[in-house]
């Protein structure tokens, strides 16, 4: 093939190369924010404790906000520095365990928040606080869907749990419009049938083994 012909062929081929898909901006930002949180630097998660009913979902709200926004200013990934903006590519990557820890951390934060919300839901709903719970469920629902698209969702058990959690949260979020006693009962039935709360507690370590810590002995 002559050089000119090849240039033309190459030009057309390059033009036809697959376009990159739309960047998953929110999902990536979600992970970046979580990885930069102080917790991602290795701080231990505090031992959960039972809060008064009225306040039970407040820390969950705070925890989930943590997931969605930038929490911290510092990270502590042990990697060498880029010494020059225009320096040559050098052998430096964030250690894989650090990235995995970030996903695990954000998953645990999220599931802990969800557990707190679902645990408080029956009481809050009957006390007429469905509006507040529904707002919070809406936020958690967004995070649940984002998490399912990250590597955290590649774990089959976590993926199933997130799927079931998504359904429950969607139902609770819908209570904002026209809450009825029957709706609350149906949501509770759905939670019980799928053992969502039990599985959340097992996933976060707040199961019966830790019952005393939760005041559920």
């Amino acid at each position: 093939m002559k050089e000119d012909n090849f240039e033309n062929v190459l030009r057309e081929l390059v033009r036809d190369l697959d376009l990159p898909p739309e960047p998953p901006r929110e999902a990536m930002w979600f992970v970046i924010s979580a990885a930069r949180s102080p917790q991602a630097r290795g701080e231990r998660r505090s031992v959960p404790f039972r809060l008064p009913v009225w306040a039970r979902w407040a820390p969950a709200l705070a925890a989930a906000l943590v997931i969605g926004i930038v929490l911290g200013r510092l990270t502590d990934f042990p990697s060498p520095s880029v010494t020059s903006p225009a320096g040559p590519p050098v052998a430096e990557t964030m250690p894989e365990p650090a990235a995995e820890n970030a996903y695990q951390l954000v998953t645990m934060q999220h599931l802990t928040s969800a557990e707190a919300l679902l645990a408080a839901f029956p009481v809050d709903a009957r006390a007429g606080r469905t509006g507040e719970v529904a707002v919070w469920a809406t936020d958690l629902l967004t995070d649940t869907r984002l998490l399912a698209e990250t590597p955290a969702g590649e774990d089959p058990q976590i993926r199933r749990l997130l799927g079931d959690l998504e359904l429950v949260l969607a139902q609770i979020a819908a209570l904002r419009d026209a809450p009825r006693g029957e709706d609350v009962r149906l949501i509770e039935d759905g939670m019980n049938q799928n053992d969502v709360l039990v599985r959340l507690r097992a996933a976060t370590g707040n199961d019966v083994v830790n019952g005393n810590l939760m005041g559920e002995s």
């Binding site: 190459l10 697959d18 992970v31 930069r36 990934f77 020059s84 040559p88 590519p89």
Partner: protein, 194 residues
């Protein structure tokens, strides 16, 4: 050679530089909104570069992009404005992507070693078309040639930009592009001539 998005205008206008400096100052002062603004301003282009260098693997591209920004935020205090922020970010993206791809290939080779026997028995798929052959040929290019080819011919960087990102003279970028095209020509010549 014309490229997908055309050569971009240099972003070193004084207004842009001032805005960029202010944004960086806000990020360094701990303003989360500024962090997000910086991310929003650059994520698309960084993702595109990572996607190309990851040979079109969307999962790898996502990982590389995330790592690029984590690294960038971590080291922003050391950014000396010797180049545009985008150049600095793209240098990190290239570094992260190339290292990530090396890791990925090593992992894949280990897996292939284990599953090689099975793979050998699989029936060949349909004859790839010229576009598929080009993608495969690009992926097989030696790394220094592949990076320059992808950046120049596919993503539309100038040789000057490539020189800054990869820290090499413009002439080296041109030479590598020429060699990359020559290799692709050899690989595709028989097929394209049919």
């Amino acid at each position: 050679m014309p490229v997908s998005e055309g050569r971009r205008a240099a972003e070193t206008g004084s207004g842009v530089v001032v805005e960029e400096r202010r944004l960086i100052e806000r990020v360094l002062a701990g303003d989360p909104a500024a962090e997000r603004a910086l991310y929003d301003a650059h994520v698309d282009r960084v993702y595109r570069l990572c996607y190309r260098l990851a040979d079109g693997d969307v999962d790898l591209a996502q990982d590389f992009t995330q790592e690029t920004f984590l690294r960038a935020f971590d080291r922003l205090a050391g950014f000396r404005h010797a180049s545009a922020l985008s150049t600095w970010l793209h240098a990190i993206a290239v570094s992260v992507s190339l290292n990530g791809m090396r890791r990925h290939r090593r992992r894949r080779e280990r897996e292939t070693g284990l599953e090689g026997a099975e793979a050998m028995q699989e029936k060949p798929t349909a004859e790839p078309d010229l576009k598929d052959r080009l993608k495969a040929a690009i992926a097989r290019l030696p790394e220094p040639y592949r990076v320059v080819f992808v950046m120049y011919d596919v993503e539309g960087y100038t040789h000057e930009e490539i020189g800054q990102v990869l820290a090499m003279p413009t002439g080296t970028s041109k030479a590598r592009l020429s060699r990359a095209r020559a290799r692709l020509r050899e690989e595709l010549a028989a097929f394209a001539g049919e």
